[in-house]
């Protein structure tokens, strides 16, 4: 597969950043969530650009199909009056300090990234077929797969238990 040109990456990056920044700035929680879904879709596009379609589809299935649904359900279940009610920043000072901290973090990260020279690595790998991934998952990475599966099962059961309504022993009082 010929790696797509740099402008494509730049466009994906701009779109992802724009939607993420908007999502973090909007007052309306549902709008934020929907915009963040768009960011996740652009991240999937990034994986496609990088030549990992399996990853891209997995990202869409999990983030658009599952996590966004859980988030939206949680928003709807925990609203008191109106989901469109703006969630304001706690205070202006807090917003400014958050911006300062994250801006500082970005400055440090960007400096580190730009300082770093990649060691001349292997040539770009061939697109891994699903069969390769499957072989790796069932072979060397089997433990990781099993552990992830157990973690997922346990957390989902736990989440269901936590979220299910508590039966009050005596509701008469």
């Amino acid at each position: 597969m010929i790696p797509p040109p740099l402008p494509v990456l730049a466009a994906i990056a701009a779109a992802a950043l724009l939607t993420a920044a908007l999502a973090m700035m909007l007052r309306n929680l549902i709008h934020s969530a929907l915009l963040l879904v768009l960011t996740w879709v652009f991240v999937a596009f990034f994986y496609l650009w990088a030549g990992a379609p399996f990853l891209a589809f997995a990202q869409v299935v999990v983030y658009v199909g599952a996590i966004s649904m859980v988030v939206l359900f949680a928003v709807l279940l925990t609203r008191r009056h109106d989901p469109a009610k703006p969630t304001r920043p706690a205070s202006l000072a807090r917003a400014c300090s958050a911006l300062a901290v994250s801006g500082g973090a970005f400055a440090v990260l960007a400096w580190a990234v730009l300082q770093w020279r990649p060691v001349p690595g292997n040539p770009p790998p061939a697109e891994p077929s699903v069969a390769t991934l499957g072989a790796a998952l069932a072979g060397p990475q089997l433990h990781a797969l099993l552990i992830t599966g157990v973690i997922l099962t346990a957390t989902l059961i736990g989440a269901a238990l936590i979220a299910s309504p508590v039966e009050k022993p005596d509701s008469s009082q």
Binding site: L6, L9, A13, A16, L17, A20, A21, A23, M24, L29, A33, L36, T39, W40, V43, F46, A50, A52, L55, V62, Y63, I67, V70, V71, A74, L77, T78, R80, T87, P89, A90, R94, A95, A98, L99, V101, S102, G103, A105, F106, A110, L114, P118, V119, G121, N122, P124, P125, P128, T132, L133, A136, T148, I151, L152, T155, L156, G158, A159, I162
Partner: protein, 104 residues
Amino acid sequence: MNLDPLHLCLLLSAALFCAGLAGVLSRSGAIFALLGIELMLNAANLNFAAFWRHGQAAAPDPILFVLFSIAVAAAEAAVGLALVIAFYRHRRTSRLPAASRLKG
């Protein structure tokens, strides 16, 4: 300035991470904090794909790592939002400052 694709990917990842960080720090809504954390996790995943793309890592391992990371992110979202719902049931709010007391 060197606009190597790898550098661009890493800068994108750093920017997304910081956007998520700013979101988490500036808001007091629990669900919003979770959204920010998801964004930060995604930003971290981007790095793996970028390093894999540019031949800095062994063949399919970064991809697998991202897959596991996505799975764990799903689990995290499920548990986090279940906690939010359970907390909301007790306090009728989902704002984090209200969660400073452990006693129900």
